[in-house]
């Protein structure tokens, strides 16, 4: 009987650990989908980063995508409320010049949505990291504003 309980405990441990991981990806994107509103979805990136370790560099991930002159892009992210991290987006152009960031440092404030009417076509880099290096999970979304 004891063996059965150990087996069941292990099974549920694995089952639930899998579920908590999966909430970070597709379900979060589905919730985030509603924020697209009057724009056309283009691309999304799942972002899951650990807490910054002492003395280590800030964990971040970067993705590239082409943006075309004449299009206005709606850029935003959704955070998993179960984790402390609040995601910050920064965008650089193909010459690595910083174009915009979703965090106002002076006011320690997050900007929920960025609208970017592109004048210079090219491949842009989208970097994501969490405020104060907290552990976090988020989905970054890029859509074309109609």
């Amino acid at each position: 009987m004891k063996k059965h309980y150990i087996f069941l405990s292990l099974f549920f441990l694995f089952a639930f650990s899998g579920m908590s991981f999966s909430q970070c990806g597709e379900p979060l994107l589905n919730v985030c989908h509603e924020k697209i509103e009057n724009a056309r979805f283009l691309r999304s990136w799942p972002i899951q980063l650990p807490k910054q370790a002492r003395g280590e560099t800030l964990p971040q991930v970067s993705f590239k995508m082409p943006l075309t002159s004449g299009n206005t892009y709606k850029i935003f992210a959704c955070n998993d409320a179960d984790l402390p991290g609040k995601v910050i987006i920064s965008i650089r152009n193909q010459n690595d010049d910083l174009v915009v960031t979703s965090f106002v440092i002076e006011q320690a404030r997050h900007i929920p949505v960025i609208m970017f009417p592109v004048a210079m076509s090219g491949i842009y880099t989208f970097s994501f990291y969490f405020e104060n290096g907290e552990e976090g999970c988020a989905v970054g979304v890029v859509a074309i504003a109609e």
């Binding site: 979805f41 590239k64 082409p66 299009n71 010049d97 915009v100 960025i114 009417p117 090219g122």
Partner: protein
Amino acid sequence: MKKKTKLSLILAIVAGLMISGCQYNKRQEATDLLYDTKKEGELFLHMDMVKEMISSVPNPVEISSLLQKAGVVYSQDLLNPAGNIDNYNTNFQRALNLGVYGTNLVYMNIYDRTLSTLRYLSNVRDLASDLRIEQFFDYKTLNRLSESSRNIDSVLFITNTGFDNMTRYLIEQDRSNIAILISAGTWIESLYIATHVETIPGNKDYINMRIGEQKKVLDNLLLLLHAYREEPNFNWLYDALMDLKMIYEDVKISYVYAEPTMQELNGVLIVIDNSQSEVIISDNTIEKIANKIAEIRTRIIG
């Protein structure tokens, strides 16, 4: 007795869950068997590099949206006829045409031709199924949503996330060859549509500039295809796109960077992009690009 019944019930649920898990694994294993070109050890492109370069290929929503905004009229004649699917018997053809039909699907949706999409949706499903990657599309939902033009944004959302997840999966499963072909098919079809739509004096220069900007994308695609250029089917595609690159040599692109300015309005940050790009492309070059891409595309769609 009661305890025994409860335990049996729990064990039955556990067994059921494990069996369903086994079935899922079995389906995944079947997809792993599809290696139609190079094997893992022969690849010299790093997985992250492939992901990054594929990401640099514009989503077909971009081109179709630009055309629609520029006032270009929809043309069904530009699409790959749905009945051509019967001609695609190799994985090489299927992967390329999955990109082609996917682009057609997006083009139709952007122009609100939702009812015509059903046949193309079914083609995307069939080709994805042939390539063992059909699990990334919720066809029942797509079919239902395609019945009304009010659902276009949801259709695009499901289609785009499906293609993104499929690409990530293919690369992670060491099937980058298929991912690259799908991406190449998407780009070729987008460029074919952009170079063959009817322009008017008011939008011609604007569209020509967007065609010229594809020079950089072509360079990335060629880098990806270079890894497979010795393969029997890949070699002609690589050579044909190299010919296209020669034509693109006449396109001159310059960038002038100026620091952007910001404006915040109701919680939305609006970036005022003060940078500019200049694309110099002649009508003659546009015509050459249009002819070359049509030639490549004809060979792909059969």
